[in-house]
Amino acid sequence: MWQGIQELVFGRLTPSDFVHDPIMAGAGIGMVGALVLAMIALTYFKKWKWLWKTWITSLDPKKIGVMYLIVSVIMLLRGLADALLLRTQQAAGGSVEVLNADHFQQIFSAHGTIMIFFVAMGIIFGIFNLIIPQQIGARDVAFPFLNSVSFWLFAAGMILINAPLVVGEFSAAGWLAYPPLSGLEYSPGVGVDYWIWSLQIAGIGSLLSGINFFVTIIKMRAPGMTLMKMPIFIWSALGSTSLIMFAFPILTATLGMLALDRLLGMHFFTSDMGGNPMLYINLIWAWGHPEVYILVLPAFGIFSEVVATFSGKKLFGYKSMVIALAAITFLSFTVWLHHFFTMGAGADVNTFFGIMTMVIAIPTGVKVFNWIFTMYRGRVRFTTPMLWFMGFIVTFTLGGLAGVAMSVPAADFQFHNSLFLVAHFHTMIVGGVLFGAFAGFSYWFPKFTGFTLNEKLGKIAFWLWIVGFLLAFVPLYILGFMGATRRLDSYDPSLGWQGLFIVAGVGVMIIAAGVGFQLLQIVVSIIQRKKNRVGEDPWDGRTLEWSTATPPAEYVYAVIPTVTERDAFWESKKNKHHKVAAPVYEDIWLPKNSGAGAIIGLLAMVFGAAIIWHMFWLVIISFIGIVVTLIIRLTNDDTEVKLPAAEVAAHELKRGTV
């Protein structure tokens, strides 16, 4: 009787679920401790109201963008700590147990999932929020409230994926949780459910955000900015967001079916009763391959902006670049099978998908040549963003070569699931997406703060990253040739792999030092902000975001600019002898703050936790809560506040005299 009530209230949650081994408990206590400390600090400095008013309820994309970046940086540290633990176990010699097999498997599953969903995706959306509206000459995104909901769903997913450090366990089935291993039969615990629901919630946030930015780009560009006059970063974002709109529904459906298998004992992906795990593997990669391009296309865009600006020259081959972006966007949906050439499909099928995969190398190669020729007959300033660009070309070309080698099915039979593969995709995602994000970060940082980042520390961080990166991943390529598979918590010491794993481990430590220098760089730059103070256009920029105030006003543009050419700001600087008519200010309508987004995020988190632990009463209540909050918010018509023209004028006058 008593047990029945307990099960009804707490589902499968029992006190023993809070007991963890020392490493996990340490991480859990650390995370909760940091949270408690932050709360105490907020209370002590009486900052709760400030936090609520200026951040949590804000619908300003610039604020939301910063929050995305903060979450991503914290998650990057978590993912990096995971990587260090994994390499420690493997460098320990193969038969020594620092982590037991189950814990090791939980960590690599968490590492992959967190790095893709909560670091890479978070960074991309952060940059979208900060840059897209400004670069297209808009004040805001198309749906400001939806933007807030997206962010808080992302944050809810982030909290859920870290919760296993405190209560329960995480999935041990790898970052894509192939069934039948992830099915009820082989993974009866809460681990896979944590994985499903944190991704499901964050994934819906990503989908909504993708729609939001797609509409923003299509509908809100400044007058005169035709598609072929858009900055190339906007093109890359357009490609990325259209991929999100087509790919993420597949993820949602796939996770939904896996959840039904696990919750209701259905048989979509089981081996028996007519279920078919191969269906899952096809579906997850039909999302998973485009996902790679969702991440890397914006990085391509950032590098295009960076290389043009710091070469003081127009981007070479703009039309080629647009065609190449469009081609990659389309082709990314035609190659998913290359993730499982080894599943026994016939030679004809494998040949088709192998060749489609190689074809992607054509537009990508074109982009590389265009980037290099953007520097040709330019004046190249080797600032930190340019160093990241150079590093990117080198790593991306080498990683691309490894990728082309794996696109040949018969060669892939020897590379698949080996550490060669692991090295390849890390080369692409770290060298592409992360380096792109770092380049973008130091490039756009002064726009939002008014001072540049410390160059010296930035360059040290870059060199540590490059050296650490080579040390961490070149050994993995070699280990792949030695027949080392991925995800090994132990191996026969007589194979002689330990030396290479130690080198790889040292590489990860050097990368960690690089990250340390990046954090130091931010701190030092903030302390020295007076010394590094710059104006509105520190790099001699080309696109519209450099024409706004630094830091940008909440409304960004007092007067919406009219675009006549590509590189609109560069052209306007060139033609500045033309008399500019005195601006005519108008009333500006800005979205009012709303706490509904944060409340929906909180309820979604509760919903996720409840469904993971089978507390079905709470599932129902939180779901109703979400619907009610939405109804209340959506029936409220008083969502905007007017900024009178006089106030805008006063603000702009101040900007002119500073």
Binding site: A101, Q105, A173, Y178, L181, Y186, S271, D272, N276, G312, K314, L315, G317, S320, M343, G344, A345, G346, T351, I355, A361, I362, G365, F369, I372, M375, Y376, R377, G378, V380, R381, F382, M390, I393, T397, L398, L401, A405, S407, V408, A410, A411, F413, Q414, N417, V467, V474, I478, F481, M482, G483, R486, R487, L488, D489, S490, Y491, L495, G496, W497
Partner: protein
């Protein structure tokens, strides 16, 4: 003047440091790699040999593209650095039809060549394709279990756990299934891998061309004991193989249904074992147990081929 000298020394220091770091990295990598077994490149089987050649050809082709890219990247970046005011500055130079045609064209050509190589090699090295040989092949049925490999020799009427003995220069025909989560059957020195999936039967063929012991692994995570799912492939002379078969036929252990149920239980780092085959239909039974009457009517082999 003094500042120039200081900067010059700094630059020299930087160059020396980077050369030193580069040499150090290369030295360390050579040190930890030398003398190790590299089965993907040091191959001992007909199929793996061809796969190795394919890999080397693709890399050689790739370097034809990569090296010019690096040369272009660094020479252009150096030539047009902001400090070099002698270099031409043309901020409006934004497209050149000839150049762009060149780098749409060259990758296209490269991919056409690679596509032909792909089409030919994918068909030639299709793991389902039997090896052309006058020697009668040996059939082996593979069942991936939690966390060990069970090998059944239906013709020799023996079964083994975590090792296979094969005669050299003889084609080996594998049919592979799983009674566990998905695994991948991989012997890098002899041939590339194929998945092992429950309720399905995949195929792989290889032929060792020298005697020796080669490592086999599961290349796909399948749970707690996955890392220990290794096995040995002993390639030997026909006479030795025949002797082994003869000896195995008198093994005291029988692979009965009861024994299979024992083997089926999850266990880690299982020792090698040899059995006399008792249940000749075991492999099919393992597949068919996932094909319940309410389930999909199509056969496992068909599903895997799709």
């Amino acid at each position: 003047m003094r500042k120039d000298k200081y900067r010059f020394l700094l630059r020299v220091g930087q160059v020396l440091l980077s050369i030193f770091v580069t040499l150090l990295i290369i030295g360390v990598l050579i040190f930890v790699t030398q003398g190790r077994d590299i089965p993907v490149l040091d191959t001992h089987g007909l199929i793996a040999d061809q796969e190795k050649n394919l890999i080397l050809v693709v890399f050689a082709l790739g370097f034809f593209i990569v090296i010019p890219v690096f040369i272009l990247l660094f020479s252009i970046a150096w030539r047009y650095r902001a400090g070099n005011t002698k270099a031409k500055y043309q901020p409006e130079f934004e497209s050149h039809r000839g150049l762009e045609a060149l780098w749409w064209g060259i990758p296209c050509l490269f991919i056409v060549v690679l596509a032909i190589i792909t089409a030919v090699s994918t068909h030639a090295l299709d793991p389902y394709k039997p090896i052309d040989s006058k020697v009668e092949p040996v059939k082996i049925q593979v069942i991936a279990l939690e966390w060990k490999w069970l090998f059944i020799y239906p013709d020799e009427e023996v079964a083994t756990v975590n090792y296979i003995n094969i005669p050299k220069d003889t084609p080996i025909n594998f049919t592979i299934t799983s009674d566990a989560p998905m695994n991948s059957f991989w012997v890098p020195a002899l041939a590339g891998q194929v998945y092992a999936m429950s309720g399905m039967s995949t195929k792989l063929h290889f032929m060792a061309n020298s005697a020796g012991t080669f490592n086999g692994v599961s290349a796909n995570i399948s749970g707690d004991g996955y890392a220990g799912m290794t096995f040995k492939v002993n390639s030997m002379e026909q006479a030795d193989y025949d002797a082994w078969v003869k000896k195995s036929e008198t093994s005291p252990q029988y692979l009965t249904e009861a024994m299979y149920q024992k083997l089926e239980q999850p266990s880690k780092n299982e020792a090698q074992a040899t059995y006399v085959l008792n249940d000749f239909d075991l492999y099919n039974k393992v597949i068919m147990k996932y094909m319940s009457s309410e389930g999909n009517a199509s056969t496992g082999e068909l599903k895997a081929a799709l």
